[in-house]
Amino acid sequence: MASPLRSLAYLLPQLWRALKEGPHTVKYPFDPVELPAGYRGRVIIRAENCRGCSMCVRDCPAFALELEREGRDAYRLIYHPERCAYCGQCELSCNFDAISLSNEFVPGKPDRKDLGVVLVNKEG
């Protein structure tokens, strides 16, 4: 086949496909983004399940979790999204189904200090 004809043979089906499918981009953050159910986003907690065993803190590869212990049953579990690698290791390490990752983005904040979240605050 002559080269220009061959090029057209490649191009036309692609053109048809592009026209049929329409734009793939989303006007984020003005339009919502569809994320898969298993997307690894914001860390969420079921505080009632947390026992303060610190397994998630010990296994976190990015040091994004911190446990401040003030007594035998008094502790605070703090999450630092700016350090988080969203790997899901905390979810795997937790034996009590207390911590997991949700399919939501973590929005930006102008100040780094505002990002830190106290996930659990137990006062004994």
Partner: protein
């Protein structure tokens, strides 16, 4: 004729990662080249000695952005051998599925870069658009487009439902004709051939001398692939061809990679249709008994080797990573001899360099 020296890199539109070249030109021809590495050295091997085996899975995922899964696979394979763990077949199949998807994604990304460097932007756009299908499959499977965090010591943390399997099979059906179109363009399009034929030729003797691995070696006639030659399950139960070309030039490398992509689609289908039932992982101990192990796997760019030594604690005493780019890089001074300045881009991208892998 007077000589001039042209610096390329560490920051250059031609290079996607930092690497520096100093090319000595006589007229339009390169007569000498010098290379400098180490701009993205992150000390990952040393850092791994400070972290536990569990944390290191995520650390080694960050050695490379493209072939992140194969690094964790090789590492976990090594640690599992030290622990004497037997990973359930379903876990091994899902690991292999991600490996093959990653190979398709890596080769399509590379084709885009190669096409961009030779000025064939249409193929660049098509290859990267079709790569999105693979990235979508991987995101649905693992929750991340490039850092999958799928492997754990003792198996994988994901599982697949029958409905999800059918969705992936349909997505692969959409992808396959697209890859075949790209393969047809690479094989027959005159403009593509004009820029890649007889450029950066490496003979079989050079390949053996420099211990080159992966598609670069297979494009020069060295028939080797770890998946076939030293198969780890489930590759011993899967049927696939290992494409080999004998020209040894940039075109042959493109062909080998594209044929491999087609084979990987077939492998993904085989894995999905023969996926065994059962658990996907087993529980692993935190402390690893003393010993040492060498773990190998076939990454998209060639053979990746992990040497792991344990002293009985929960942190490794030493981890050494040998990435395929490191061996393939050594051939560049030979390839850059006596070529036109305009062909330097084709030679550099033809090897499929991953500098982050090489520097670690």
């Amino acid at each position: 004729m007077s000589k001039i020296t042209v610096p390329i890199g560490p920051q250059h539109p031609l290079l996607k990662e930092p690497l520096a070249f100093s090319l000595t030109l006589e007229g339009e021809h390169v007569i000498e080249s010098a290379m400098r590495l180490g701009y993205v050295h992150r000390g990952i091997e040393r850092l791994s000695q400070e972290r536990t085996y569990v944390q290191n899975v995520h650390l080694f995922e960050r050695v490379c952005g493209i072939c992140s899964h194969i690094h964790t696979t090789t590492y976990c394979q090594g640690v599992e051998a030290l622990l004497g763990l037997e990973v359930p077949p379903r876990g091994l199949y899902l690991r292999a599925l991600l490996c093959e998807l990653e190979r398709i994604h890596s080769h399509l990304l590379w084709l885009g870069v190669q096409a961009r460097n030779i000025g064939f932007d249409t193929i660049f756009m098509y290859a990267w658009r079709d790569r999105e299908i693979v990235l979508d499959i991987m995101e649905d499977l693992s929750g991340g487009r490039v850092s999958h965090a799928v492997n754990i010591i003792g198996g994988v943390r994901i599982d697949l439902t029958t409905e999800h399997r059918d969705v992936i099979l349909r997505q692969l059906d959409t992808l396959e004709p697209q890859i075949e179109t790209l393969l047809d363009v690479v094989e027959n399009e005159r403009s593509f051939q004009a820029r890649t034929r007889n450029i950066g030729v490496l003979s079989l003797e050079q390949i053996r001398r420099y211990c080159v691995v992966g598609p670069v070696a297979r494009a020069s006639g060295l028939d080797m692939d770890l998946r076939r030659d030293a198969p780890t399950p489930p590759y011993d139960r899967l049927k696939f061809r290992v494409p080999v070309r004998y020209e040894g030039d940039a075109w042959a490398r493109t062909m080998v990679r594209m044929l491999e992509t087609v084979e990987s689609v077939h492998l993904c289908r085989q894995i999905l249709t023969t996926l065994p039932d059962g658990p996907t992982s087993v529980r692993a101990k935190r402390r690893v008994p003393p010993g040492e192990v060498v773990s190998r796997a076939e990454a998209p760019r060639g053979e990746v080797i992990y040497y792991i030594r344990s002293d009985g604690s929960d942190k490794p005493a030493r981890v050494k990573v040998r990435t395929p780019t490191l061996t393939n890089l050594i051939t560049l001074p030979d390839q850059l001899q006596n070529i036109s300045m305009a062909d330097v881009s084709v030679v550099l991208s033809g090897v499929d360099l991953c500098i982050a892998c090489a520097d670690r």
